[in-house]
Amino acid sequence: MSETVHLTIDGREIAADPTVSILQAYAQSGAELTANVGCMGQGVCGSCRCMVRKDGERQVSTLLACETRVEPGMQVSFIDYFLPAHVHHYDLKDLHDSWGMLDQIRAVFPEAEHCRHCSGCDRACPKGLPVQSGVAFSVAGDIAAAAAVFDQCVMCNLCTLACPENIRPNHLGLFVRRSVAALTLRPIDLMRRLREVASGEMSVNVTLPRVETATAAPRLAAPAQDR
């Protein structure tokens, strides 16, 4: 059995097994999980965004708590969901053909052209995506390349929080991914499956976990999806 690791999370001292993630350590410490948790450790919801300063380091990194293993002396601060003052609105039905893509990007994300190349988004991204280049590809109209950059994006919103020009790179990324999907033929197996579901040929059986209605039940944060 390995030694116990001591770290602090939001100023609270916590002892943890060295094999667990920050999020697991936090949950096991008896903390009430009222925010900063969604997919509970699968690294897909982006809710568990946090700042981490490792022992003896000056740098503070932005990471996902469920994908980062605890280390002795780590100091962690969870980050709230960041909702910028300005939210982008668009309707994918406006996209008739790819000729209009560049105009659409300019119309919906006019601030993307103001990128000052600070690389803050690249450094902020816990998935290590080259976010800045995704913004540049979008502005240049290279939509396929831009969509590829954001393929692994979990919408943690950390690049949006980081961007000094209020560009919201992940939302731009989501837009280009949706646009590519809207302008391409749907995968045939998906179309077939949807038909089967619609006709009842394939039954969908979702069993939801039972949630206690008592106030003591943990209130799970909504996943940080685009809104």
Partner: protein, 421 residues
């Protein structure tokens, strides 16, 4: 003796771009003294104990000595007058640029003599349009003068005096951001070392001083270090420009002996509190610094004395707050200012200011959870030093100081042990 406006704000010097007038008022003699004995300039500043007025109070002679000693690879050396002033509550440099441009330029020319610089850059915030216009006119008036020819003979090359507009952004005043800006880019701060005095603009040794710092130099060279030291109260040297604002009767810019008490600034010169308002505290040195309370009214406003109270003089801005104003609300506003001013390079700067602002908002609106104060204190521990420049550190300083001086506003009975140290 009237201790108000003896030097920098002396009415005799408030001339605008009028070189003849400046000379008639005694200007030019500091530069003459510097040219007569260039080797003695830095020692004179050391004896005078001149400090950087841009916020840090760093001994000026040390920076000048480093820039003088630094080899110039391409033969160039720069002197930069930092006139970017953009922090809420500080309004001193803009006055000097507008009304005493020659006082400032002469200080920069003396710096050029001391470190043998061939490029003098007057880096001015374009939002101060009149100050910039006066500096342009004043710079042109020096062209071709005997004083400039003597400098050129000393350094063995032509002397260039340029007035350059800053980006107008707050971050553009940070010294390594000044360099990025002068090189033509966005004012991104850079990691130090190398320090600008060793390797700055295009790799050349670059001496960057605040406008007020440079404005003091001609007078020190003219009247001597002993005279300058004698202007201050007690051990403090010279005078200081205090930008007094907030809930006082007579807000404004006051030049007073360095080491004047906070009480005298507010209640003698500032006319006291606005009618019906009770004194609560002062943000000293502007939003990026600290708070003092009623029990500190006796503090001498000089760099060292203020530091002994766990506070900082900063730029000399004093923002007076009255009872009924929420300290937490004020601090939240300042944090918002820093969040907007961040250049974006360091994720912890944007994410850290955002999270502090969220926690402050919750405290201010009474929605703070049990762990929120601990989370705020935790941020004050992990954020300092995590950025390339001092912006994030300044933001933490004001949060930490407010937690220490006004714990009750945070619903905390006593300062945490670490903060009473």
């Amino acid at each position: 003796m009237n201790t108000l406006n003896q030097v920098l704000l002396n009415p005799a010097f408030q001339l605008g771009a009028d070189l003849d007038g400046w000379r008639a008022a005694g200007g030019g003699q500091g530069l003459d003294a510097a040219l007569a004995d260039p080797g003695a300039i830095i020692a004179t500043l050391e004896a005078a104990d001149l400090r950087g007025m841009g916020g840090a109070g760093f001994p000026t002679h040390r920076k000048w000595a480093a820039a003088a000693a630094a080899p110039a690879p391409d033969g160039d050396k720069y002197v930069v007058c930092n006139g970017n002033e953009d922090e809420p509550g500080t309004f001193k440099d803009r006055h000097l640029l507008r009304w005493t441009p020659h006082q400032v330029i002469e200080g920069a020319l003396i710096a050029a003599v001391a470190i043998r610089a061939n490029r003098v850059v007057l880096y001015i915030n374009p939002h101060q349009a009149e100050g910039r216009a006066q500096m342009r006119r004043a710079a042109q008036q020096w062209a071709g003068t005997e004083a400039v020819r003597r400098i050129e003979r000393l350094i063995g090359k032509p002397l260039e005096i340029a007035v350059v507009a800053t980006s107008g952004r707050y971050i553009g005043g940070e010294e390594t951001a000044v360099i990025s800006s002068l090189e033509g880019g966005f004012p991104f701060p850079r990691r130090k070392p190398p320090f600008p005095a060793e390797s700055g603009c295009h790799g050349a040794p670059t001496l960057i001083n605040n406008t007020e710092t440079l404005a003091n130099v001609p007078h020190i060279l003219h009247h001597g270090a002993a005279w300058y030291r004698g202007l201050g109260v007690g051990d403090a040297a010279g005078t200081k420009l205090y930008s007094l604002s907030g809930d006082v009767l007579l807000p404004g810019l006051y030049e007073l002996p360095m080491g004047t008490s906070l009480h005298d600034l507010i209640f003698v010169h500032g006319g006291g509190m606005l009618e019906g308002k009770a004194f609560k505290g002062v943000f000293t040195g502007g939003p990026s610094n600290t708070l003092l309370t009623a029990r500190d009214l006796d503090v001498a406003l000089d760099f060292d004395s203020v530091r002994l109270r766990r506070s900082r003089l900063g730029t000399g801005a004093m923002i007076v707050i009255s009872e009924g104003t929420s300290i937490v609300r004020k601090v939240a506003e300042y944090i918002e200012f820093f969040a907007n001013g961040s250049c974006g390079q360091c994720p912890s700067c944007k994410a850290g200011t955002f999270q502090m602002a969220r926690l402050l908002d919750r405290v201010d609106s009474g929605r703070a959870g049990p762990g929120d104060i601990a989370a705020l204190r935790n941020l004050c521990r992990i954020l300092p030093g995590s950025g390339r420049c001092g912006l994030i550190d300044g933001a933490v300083t004001v949060v930490e100081s407010s937690l220490h001086t006004f714990p009750a506003e945070y619903g905390v009975a006593e300062p945490a042990p670490a903060e009473t140290a």
